[in-house]
Amino acid sequence: MADLKTKIGSLELKNPVLTASGTFGYGLEYQDYMDISKLGGIIVKGTTLAPRQGNPYPRMAEVHMGMLNAVGLQNKGVDYFVNNIYPKIKDIDTNMIVNVSGSSIPDYVETAARIDGLDRIPAIELNISCPNVKQGGMAFGVNPASAAQVVDAVRKAYSKTLIVKLSPNVTDIAEIARAVEGAGADSVSLINTMLGMAINAETRRPVLSTVTGGMSGPAVKPVALRMVWQTAKAVKIPVIGLGGIQCATDAIEFLLAGASAVEIGTANFVDPAISEKVAVGIGEWLDRHGCKSVAEIVGALEC
């Protein structure tokens, strides 16, 4: 049996499969369908300093082999997380990682600092795809300078493993990844959702209340793979790959492209037990190919 253990900075994962933020609730929602402690980690819902109601309904639309969402980071705020949710999830036997979002640098820093104090949260994933309210609403993650600025500020306030989640809505992902690495990130994860839209021709109206939304699911996988491959070549820190992973073979493709671990997102909605199946499937693939560990295939693409 191949060794499935993987490391993201100093963070040890029992296997390379994590669940993607916003698609797995707080993990508890999935307990009826699988043993969530079998995962390498669970990245919980996007958390912000103040509570957020998110965008008006309708917030989702199905597209060919995927979906658009415009949830808009609905959550009850970091204090509610610390006081009400953390006690319920802290004893789950896997890495519970909090996805941190914000609309200003002080927001990000304060949220990260409050989570730093929680013993059983070994890492945060910083979502820099949110609009920067102070700078006209452009996402922090779409230019190297603002991406580095927010990561640098959070790095000073957060002592544990800092994963930075990159937006695919950029021209040169490698440049952003290098900027974030330079600012002290321990790892980068990618991709977040791709900006898209859907129109109802009958009514001549957009399907989503926000007109545009974030696309995810199998349809985005080729773009995600390309970006993970480019990023893994550009940085020395470990890369976490995601975007459209539906099965173990998809996950192996991301590992070959250079990812040290993967996240499963939208596929959880199709099969709530898929993440556990992917972890098992990765082990089977490694055995079948005579590999002793995950590390052997990370970036092992032959081109």
Binding site: Y30, Y33, G54, A61, M67, F269
Partner: protein, 258 residues
């Protein structure tokens, strides 16, 4: 104890009820936790049919002894057409049961069960349960015309059925809220499922007459289990998930302008 499970369902029969509706009866391969009237399932259709995400359908009937579940489905698009094409022996996958279901205890006495179109789906299991509890109730169904009224005989075997059709082909002419049964009154509470304008009209009647009323919403869903926050309704408590805190809501919790 598990509240919901993932199970394969073997299709036992499929019956075309009208141009646009089918009754599908399926058998669960695994034990299914307790089902309450008003709960739903998330059905995964064969991927070659083009529906990627699961589709939510009310549990129309359920027999816990045999694990038989039936759905009443209206063809409106890719997923529902795939449901209509299912044949005996086909296997589909379901997450079930999901959602809160109707709260029967909080609405005792003589109940009116109002439904429009395929909103009739959850009313059958609700009627069966009320009958088993020896409670008094009456169905009130609204439709465009006779063809859109589904399984009337089955419903009549449970309780009296009042009907309103827009074209007057059966029952009284007009909307459910015009039906004389409402003018007569004598009901203590209302359970309702159907198109939103109909539910709002019924909610208005209920609040004007001080009757407790529960409505079942049909928002678009992705996960169906409270994980993605795609299916929210704006309530007095803020945005809540229709799949988890609903689909059934007391109208007092909703922010409907009625």
């Amino acid at each position: 104890m598990k509240k919901s499970t993932q199970t394969d369902l073997i299709v036992r029969s499929s019956e075309r009820l009208s141009d646009s509706a089918v009754l599908v009866s399926m058998q669960a391969c695994d034990p299914v936790p307790d089902v309450r009237p008003g709960q739903f399932l998330q059905l995964l259709l064969p991927s070659c049919k083009g529906a990627y995400l699961r589709r939510p359908y009310s549990i129309h009937d359920f027999d816990s002894e045999t694990g038989t579940v039936s759905l009443l489905v209206q063809m409106v698009g890719t997923g529902s057409r795939a449901v209509a094409e299912l044949k005996a022996g086909d296997v589909v996958n379901a997450l079930m049961p999901l959602g809160n279901g109707f709260d029967l205890e909080s609405q005792p006495g003589n109940s009116l069960l109002v439904a429009g179109g395929v909103g009739m789906a959850p009313m059958y299991l609700l009627g069966k349960e009320l009958k088993a509890m020896n409670r008094n109730f009456t169905f009130l169904f609204g439709a465009r015309g006779e063809k859109q009224l589904l399984r009337l005989e089955a419903f009549r075997s449970l309780a009296p059925v009042a009907i309103s059709t827009q074209d007057g082909s059966v029952g009284e002419t007009g909307l459910v809220t015009d039906n004389s049964i409402l003018a007569k009154g004598g009901f203590d509470s209302i359970f309702c499922c159907g198109p939103t304008p109909m539910m709002k009209a019924v909610a208005k009647y209920a609040s004007q007459n001080n009757l407790p009323c529960q409505v079942s919403l049909e928002h678009h869903m992705a996960c169906g289990m409270g994980a993605c926050l795609c299916c929210v309704e704006d309530t007095v408590e803020g945005h809540v998930c229709v799949c988890k805190e609903g689909p059934v809501f007391d109208i007092k919790k909703l922010k409907w302008q009625i």
